[in-house]
């Protein structure tokens, strides 16, 4: 009576799987290490503190949006076709930025304008939640429709123009430094800590993962699945709102085409899954992935490789990661 051991078959295949998973994960870290090392040796100026800071700053916005996408993946599952995805996150940021700048230029106090931007992002998130939970539209479509609405509203508000904005706070965000680290980077650090605690170190996070991982099991355990899905989308909207303020501060203007961030955001959130033992989206994994995407572009630039390669390499990476993880994952129903 010393131990429950399933049929020997189950154990050996389990070990094989765990081993394969370990190899994939270590391989991913090793690949990143080798690529960064290559850049460090051959790309002049890659390791300069100025360059590193610059890359981090450039990656802040992508990372913030990718956090939103990550939380949606966590709370609604990574089966993009049937489960959840938030295609509207980048467009929401664009809209929130337009709201922010417009209100600022109308003379609204800055804190209120910031709140309005964040509120705009969360409202769009709520709309996603309503579409998915209440109307039961598949998330891919629901967030696509919301994305179109957000893009349209952004264009309407800005009249398809770049609208400039400046304020002390924005200047501070753009140029401020504390302990040698830029304000933008600080925002990322603080927000990362906050999301990490929420998702990985709180009871709430465990439940969110359960809802996304297997909704029936979560429901059987008495969890409110709908609430968690609402939360995921609204949180994603919050990320979009904060990202919008950062975009405006970096560029001193609301810019069009924020929606174009969507694909890199998806890439970062998906690539991030390879760094987790369970092959699930994690905050740490997303952070590594989006920084890596940033360093990749930067390294290419320094090496004089055409930036036209960047999106192709991202695409190839997505395919590689997904193919590898699907082989390391247990077979369906197995």
């Amino acid at each position: 009576m010393s131990g429950v051991t399933g049929p020997a078959a189950a154990n050996s295949s389990m070990n094989r799987r765990a081993l394969a998973a370990l190899f994939v994960r270590l391989g991913a870290f090793a690949a990143i290490g080798i690529i960064l090392l290559y850049f460090a040796i051959y790309a002049r100026g890659f390791t300069s503190s100025y360059n590193l800071q610059n890359v981090v700053e450039q990656s802040v916005i992508l990372t913030m949006l990718a956090y939103g996408m990550t939380v949606v993946f966590i709370g609604t599952g990574t089966d993009v076709q049937q489960g959840g995805v938030d295609l509207s996150v980048a467009a929401n940021a664009g809209l929130a930025g337009a709201v922010f700048v417009t209100l600022l230029n109308l003379g609204l106090p800055e804190p209120l304008a910031i709140l309005a931007a964040i509120f705009s992002g969360m409202a769009m998130g709520l709309l996603n939640g309503i579409a998915v939970v209440l109307f039961r539209i598949i998330p891919l479509l629901a967030t696509l429709a919301v994305m179109n609405i957000a893009t349209g509203l952004e264009l309407t508000i800005t009249g398809n123009n770049v609208v400039g904005a400046s304020s002390e706070f924005l200047t501070m965000l753009q140029f401020g430094r504390f302990l040698g680290i830029s304000a933008l980077a600080w925002v990322l650090i603080v927000f990362t800590i906050f999301v990490t605690i929420l998702v990985h170190y709180s009871p709430f996070g465990v439940r969110l993962y359960a809802v996304g991982g297997f909704p029936e099991a979560a429901r059987a355990a008495g969890l409110n699945v709908g609430f968690n899905i609402y939360f995921s989308y609204i949180f994603s909207g919050l990320c979009a709102g904060i990202a919008a303020v950062l975009i405006v501060s970096r560029l001193s203007a609301s810019t069009l085409g924020t929606g174009l961030h969507l694909l890199p955001v998806l890439a970062a959130a998906l690539l991030g899954t390879v760094f987790s033992r369970r092959f699930v989206p994690t905050i740490g994994g997303t952070l590594i992935a989006s920084l890596f995407v940033g360093f990749l572009a930067n390294g290419f630039q320094l090496l004089g490789i055409s930036s036209y390669w960047v999106s192709g390499v991202q695409g190839a990476l997505i395919l590689l990661v997904v193919a590898l993880t699907s082989f390391a994952k247990p077979a369906e129903g197995g």
């Binding site: 078959a9 765990a18 465990v206 439940r207 991982g213």
Partner: protein, 504 residues
């Protein structure tokens, strides 16, 4: 404080025209293990789902302890102390053991999750109740079926369950694990926890239960005290029939061999399997969950490939790389999971029946609709599929009729070898009889049938010959009448030497 933990009275539940529950009572005492038995479709799982709040009952009263529950919600029933260990292991595959044990009941330190305590307590609970060491950090998807079951029970214990409902908890377990589970259940009973125990295995019911409620066709068929009763009495209450009526007989005319497996092996699933299936024969293949029986069917059907050994069809060696090739060679599969693999419920009866054969009757890639209409209508009539016309979506048919659609699909392409993977699972008694008749008819027409079933009684009654598979190896072979279901279970569990003809 009353002595009753669960008091359900006069529960009725109707699905469309079907009365799934008709005025059913169920009382469970605190500190007792209460068996709930009945044939498939008798209403066991329906009444459990009513208690779980998954189905809303049409009439009747549900009391938990002293509290009458007017509305039962899945989200709140656990707060009333009732926990369910579902048959399908409802656990998040990517969670760790610790997370699964404490889901929705996580230990906190302030607002934060106390991960250390969670891991330690999960390990401790499993150690205390089951005397097992399962790594609290292991992922659910990497655990064996038995380990997952244990995690589920541990979760209920961690939530201080007052009532524990176990739906077929031993289905995936081997003998040692079963006795370990029983020890835990007895210990829980002594802590005044009420346990509802649902099982097909009568020996287990007699061994562990104090009281037994028997359901039949959605009604109460009796309540007995286990120690004063016998398996025979319970079974006779469960089924209102003569065995001969339930299992139609047939004159077997066994012809030349069609399908032959020689020394077939698939690492981790089965090894050294020799098997010969003849025309006109119903050959049973039986084993416990995970014994390799289902994997063997998959290999014959081309869903998987054996690592070594040969498969011969009508004397010629075959190697199917995909089911399509097996189908072309005349092999038919009636899968266990009808809704996932058997019928596409959103499509029409006609589309489902013709899918396997439509390419053969096509004219330059176009569906031959005239021919198809004739073929499909003919099969609907021949098999007695109850449908107003062939255009009705299959989801509007009963389980038994859906199964007939699957059979019709294979008849439409004139298959000669039929692989039946638990075809009577989750269909009502009437439909079962129809499926048995279909099997007999196919065999009577000279088709060869390989029949895998988890229902040992039907295996014993329906098969001309039975092979028993245990941990991937054939351990016994019996002709019709040489073995009863109790002995079959013993051989399949590897517990008893088969005594009769052993296959070396």
């Amino acid at each position: 404080m009353s002595d009753v933990a669960i008091d359900m009275r006069g529960i009725s539940k109707q699905f469309g025209p079907v009365k799934a529950l008709d005025n059913v009572d169920l009382q469970v005492r605190k500190g007792s293990i209460h068996g709930l038995v009945g044939a498939n479709g008798a209403g066991k799982s329906t009444i459990i789902k009513v208690l779980a709040g998954i189905y809303k009952h049409d009439s009747g009263n549900v009391c938990v302890g002293d509290k009458t529950l007017d509305v039962i919600a899945p989200a709140s029933i656990e707060k009333d102390g009732v926990h369910f260990i579902h048959q399908d292991r409802l656990l998040v595959p990517t969670a760790t053991v610790a997370e699964a044990v404490f889901l929705n009941n996580e230990p906190r330190r302030g607002f934060l999750l106390d991960i250390k305590r969670m891991r330690k307590e999960a390990s401790d609970l499993i150690k205390k109740h089951f005397n097992l060491d399962i790594d609290a950090n292991a992922l659910i998807r990497d655990l064996s079926a038995a380990q997952q079951k244990i995690v589920q029970i541990t979760r209920a214990l961690a939530c201080n369950a007052r009532v524990l409902v176990l739906d077929e908890p031993t289905a995936a377990l081997v003998a040692a694990e079963v006795s370990s589970l029983f020890r835990v259940l007895r210990a829980l009973r002594d802590e005044n926890i009420a346990i509802i125990f649902i099982s097909h295995y009568m020996q287990e019911i007699m061994e562990i239960c104090d009281d037994v409620t028997i359901l039949r066709n959605g009604r109460n068929a009796g309540n007995v005290v286990a120690s004063d009763s016998s398996i025979e009495e319970i079974v006779s209450l469960m089924v209102n029939r003569d065995t001969s009526e339930m299992y139609p007989r047939r004159e077997a005319r066994i012809d030349e061999p069609v399908l032959e497996l020689k020394d077939a092996s698939r690492t981790g699933h089965f090894e050294g399997v020799n098997l010969t299936l003849h025309k006109g024969e119903v050959l049973g293949l039986t084993g416990l969950l995970g014994s390799g029986d289902k994997q063997l069917l998959k290999c014959i059907f081309g869903l998987d490939q054996p690592d070594s050994g040969t498969i011969a069809l009508n004397g010629g060696a075959v190697k199917f790389k995909a089911p399509g090739e097996a189908v072309d060679a005349g092999i038919a599969m009636i899968p266990e999971d009808r809704r996932a693999h058997g019928v596409a419920v959103d499509l029409s009866v006609s589309d489902n029946i013709s899918i396997a054969s439509t390419a053969r009757h096509a004219i330059r890639g176009f569906v031959n609709k005239i021919f198809e209409a004739k073929l499909v209508d003919g099969l609907i009539e021949e098999l007695g599929v109850k449908t107003p016309d062939r255009f009705l979506p299959v989801k509007n048919l009963s389980g038994g009729n859906q199964q007939k659609v699957v059979v019709a699909k294979w008849l439409s392409c004139d298959s000669s070898v039929y692989l039946l993977d638990d075809p009577t699972v989750a269909v009502d008694v009437g439909a079962k009889v129809e499926i048995y008749n279909l099997m007999n008819r196919l065999a009577g027409e000279g088709k060869a049938i390989l029949f895998v079933s988890s229902d040992l009684e039907e295996t014993v009654e329906m098969c001309d010959r039975i092979l028993v598979i245990y941990r991937g190896k054939i351990v016994g072979e019996y002709k019709r009448g040489e073995i009863n279901s109790d002995r079959l279970l013993a051989v399949a569990s590897g517990g008893a030497p088969s005594g009769l003809r052993e296959v070396s």
